[in-house]
Amino acid sequence: MTSDQIFAVVKRVVLTVLPDVSPEEIQPQRSLAELGANSIDRLDVTMGALEALHLHVSMVEFAGVSNLQGLVSVLERHLTGNSQT
């Protein structure tokens, strides 16, 4: 799965969690907080993306994430790891 495909999954989850955000606002460099997400919304986006990608990753792994690109990178790293095993 490419980085763009993972971003598309994340974008879809963000639109579900934040239904009043328009799709154009969701860009890789934006943070979820900028889109109006509170801390629980951010957890929901992370959980939703993990479920959509069938990944099991500890929340600690997402500690340093500051924008959507960072979230995509952590997901991509684990997807790649899965594909190698």
Partner: protein
């Protein structure tokens, strides 16, 4: 000693299988419609349900519903239990009808009471199933959305309310008991206006099965005609058929209603609550008599002055028998009209009392009584049951009963507005009325 401040109803809201919104609901009552159907999802069940109800869709149909209210509702109700969708819908309809969006009271003087307990049981059951399958994907929202009190917070956030707020639980008497409590808080000066809202307890297959084992819920075959299944006060009744609904009543001190020029639908002249001293689900004639007498005493009414009783009438064999005996003991030879809204709406459990107070208010306002469905062989010929057609009749004083598992007995008395208040605006027109004494 001065008379306590009158408490009045200034708005209604309701979503039910009988009608989504007050207007549809009133029309359904008048026609004697039945909302009971067979459903196969999420498990085979029979009742007056509102599957996949969306508050956001409902709010779009309400004229004057501010865009900001719709936007907040859309965001906060995501993942919320079905009970929250219905609660926010009914509360918003009543809030708009009360004109609280146009003529706001100081927001700290508006309170919220949610009547009910153990409300979101289907949400909890679904959460458990999901957690057992995929624990890693649990939404952290479960920690607070599974609480009954989440409904208080959701309504307060959508409608921007900052006064007092709490839940009040009394099983199937919760609606009446919430009104009883709101009236006390208003008279104590805690708030000027309280939005009282109740939603039916969500039932999972587990609770339905337990109710049937207990003999409280009627056994159901999917081949049977659903509209003929629920038969309160009939000799062939086998128990209740569940219903889903949310109802809301805006209660206000008469002085606040007068100041705002709000429409007064009815006055709450009496409200009672007493216990049987038992945790069991059994009804008690003496407890019901005591509840009715207490509410009448507070209303300063003689039983002969009551025109109509909205019975608890759950269809329980023992419960219906007790209520008939209690009605005979209180009202004697001069029986008021009696009907049970449950044969139309299903038994809305925690919301039943409030759905029925909305029904009482609408019947009083429009001067009719809705039919009793499926009442062909009444268990007691001393009671003056409404037949299978609506009756047109003026109603001045009405009493509504609600009883709950665990020995809760509660009665509420409503009176046509305009008799006991000095100057009250009714439907925008100032009326001069007789004094209380």
């Amino acid at each position: 000693m001065t008379s306590p401040e009158p408490v009045v109803i200034t708005a209604l809201g309701v979503v039910s299988a009988l009608g989504r919104g007050v207007q549809e609901f009133a029309a359904g009552l008048r026609r004697g419609d039945c909302g009971i159907r067979h459903f196969l999802s999420p498990f085979p069940r029979t009742g007056a349900f509102l599957p996949d109800f969306s508050a956001v869709d409902f709010l779009r149909t309400l004229p004057e519903c501010p865009g900001e209210v719709q936007r907040i509702a859309q965001r906060v109700l995501r993942q919320a239990p079905e009970s929250a969708q219905m609660t926010v819908a009914a509360a918003t309809e009543a809030w708009l009808m009360a004109g609280l969006h146009l003529m706001p009271i100081w927001e700290e003087r508006i309170g919220i009471i949610i009547g009910g307990n153990n409300i979101s049981q289907r949400y909890l059951a679904a959460g458990w199933r999901r957690f057992e399958d995929t624990p890693d994907y649990l939404s952290p929202r479960h920690a607070f959305l599974s609480l009954d009190t989440a409904l208080v917070g959701l309504v307060s956030e959508v409608l921007g309310i900052h006064g007092c707020g709490l839940t009040v639980g009394a099983a199937s008497a919760s609606g009446n008991v919430a009104v009883w409590n709101a009236k006390q808080l208003l008279r104590a000066g805690v708030a000027d206006c309280i939005i009282v809202c109740c939603v039916s307890s969500e039932l999972s297959s587990l609770e339905m099965h337990a109710f049937q084992l207990l003999g409280a819920a009627a056994p159901v075959s999917l081949e049977s005609c659903p509209a003929a299944l629920y038969r309160p006060f009939d000799a062939t009744s086998q128990g209740f058929i569940p219903g889903e609904a949310a109802a809301c009543i805006v209660l206000e001190t008469a002085s606040s209603a007068r100041l705002r020029g709000a429409r007064v639908w009815a006055a709450v002249t009496g409200a009672s609550l007493s216990l049987d001293g038992s945790h069991l689900p059994h009804a008690s004639t003496s407890g019901e008599v005591h509840a009715m007498y207490s509410a009448l005493l507070e209303s300063q009414l003689h039983p002969t002055e009551v025109d109509y009783v909205n019975a608890h009438g759950s269809g329980s064999i023992q419960g219906d028998r007790c209520e008939c005996d209690a009605l005979v003991e209180v009202f004697g030879e001069k029986q008021p009209w009696v009907n049970s809204t449950k044969s139309l709406t299903g038994h809305c459990l925690a919301a039943a009392g409030l759905v029925e107070l909305v029904a009482c208010t609408l019947q009083m306002s429009e001067g009719f009584l809705h039919p009793n469905r499926n009442l062909r062989q009444p268990i007691d010929h001393r009671i003056r049951f409404v037949g299978d057609q609506s009756v047109a009749t003026p109603l001045k004083n009405v009493l509504s009963n609600s009883f709950g598992f665990g020995g809760f007995n509660s009665s509420i008395v409503l009176r046509q507005p305009g008799m006991e208040f000095g100057n009250v605006f009714v439907a925008g027109e100032k009326i001069q009325s007789a004094s209380w004494n």
